[in-house]
């Protein structure tokens, strides 16, 4: 476990910002208030909720719920209500994406390392892993899950957005001041700032790792999926990091970066993911869904 930097409170213009680290990303809680004590209390409750979700669903920790589940592979395992809701959501995304999105596709990590190099895996390696992928192989009745031996659940695709939405709910219960939570680019807000002014957000819509566009947010959430350096290049062909769970190989012609706005972070993030899975049809897909979006190729 890497040592995390200590959370701290800072001032940014007329906002108070609580910064902390979670889910391998810099996170911040912006509060439109002058009350330092309130800001600290809200910031702490947000960080605690995000760390709780991270601990519970981390694939790196031995004490996480998922580690326990993987240890029980081959046998029925009863989960709590929150985990059940997440599995139900993952199942819905699996259906909406015709199987391209799959909570069990995390094992592909063993074959694919997206570090900008030309090391693409052997066909046999990917095919071997495909035997361990497929939600249809899992038995899930809404409360009890039975994972075949060797299969794993990975909530990485939806965990951060879910945490942002949950943390916002906690923040709203804590305070009436306008709050914006930003977990490494996935963000949501409780409403406009004081005086009905929108939040100004610098968004990296082009996937360069640098904010290049300003978006004004009055309510709802914004999620960006960008590949930055997460791709492979071999023989002039670019392999994007967006893997189609049905084949184990990257989606062809997927966009470089997608930013989507929606009422909740989980919805925005899921639409961005589905857009990337749609490859060349990303523009058509998001236009059809009628959400504000920005696509960079």
């Amino acid at each position: 476990m890497p040592v995390r930097a200590k959370p701290e409170l800072a001032r940014a213009g007329d906002l108070l910002v609580w910064r902390f680290e979670a889910m391998a990303s810099p996170c911040e809680v912006l509060i439109d208030s002058a009350d330092v004590n309130e800001a600290r209390a809200v910031g702490r409750s947000v960080a605690e909720e995000v760390w709780r979700i991270e601990r519970k669903f981390s694939r790196y920790r031995d004490d996480s719920l998922l580690a326990e589940l993987h240890g029980c592979a081959g046998r029925p395992f009863e989960v709590d209500a929150e985990t059940a809701r997440l599995f139900d959501y993952g199942q819905e995304l699996h259906a909406l994406s015709d199987g391209a999105f799959d909570l069990t596709s995390g094992v592909l990590r063993r074959a694919w390392t997206f570090d900008g190099s030309e090391r693409i895996p052997e066909r046999e390696a990917v095919s071997a892993l495909q035997a361990l992928i497929g939600w249809s192989k899992v038995s899930w009745n809404g409360r009890v899950i039975e994972l075949p031996i060797g299969m794993q659940i990975d909530l990485g695709g939806i965990g951060k957005e879910y945490a942002a939405d949950r943390a916002l709910l906690r923040a709203r219960r804590r305070s009436n001041s306008p709050v914006l939570i930003n977990l490494g680019g996935d963000l949501c807000c409780s409403g406009p700032r004081r005086g009905r002014r929108p939040w100004q957000i610098g968004v990296d819509t082009e996937g360069h790792g640098q904010a290049c566009r300003m978006v004004l947010l009055n309510s709802g959430a914004l999620a960006t999926s960008g590949d930055a350096n997460r791709y492979l290049m071999r023989d002039g062909v670019r392999y994007s990091h967006v893997l189609d769970a049905r084949t184990g190989w990257p989606v062809s012609a997927s966009a470089h970066a997608v930013t989507v706005a929606a009422p909740s972070c989980i919805e925005a993030g899921s639409l961005a993911t589905l857009a990337l899975l749609n490859g060349a049809a990303a523009e058509r897909f998001l236009a059809h869904e009628r959400v504000p979006h920005w696509i960079t190729r």
């Binding site: 100004q200 957000i201 610098g202 904010a211 290049c212 566009r213 300003m214 004004l216």
Partner: protein
Amino acid sequence: MKNLFLSALALAVLGALGGCASLGVEPWQRDVLARDEMSLGYDPVTAGLDDHIYFSKEASSGGRGFGGGGCGCN
């Protein structure tokens, strides 16, 4: 008048020369500039009406930007 013109010209030329590092703002500092009334293209309908009046009553026209449409008023 000439001084204002020359200093504004100098400023703009400086800006064009590969961009001074000190001139400009980060994308997240565009809060004030993002306001409707700070946009140079703000209220194009009024700008078009004014342009048309002055185009009809004076011998000069344009300079500010591009409008659309010609008319018979010379």
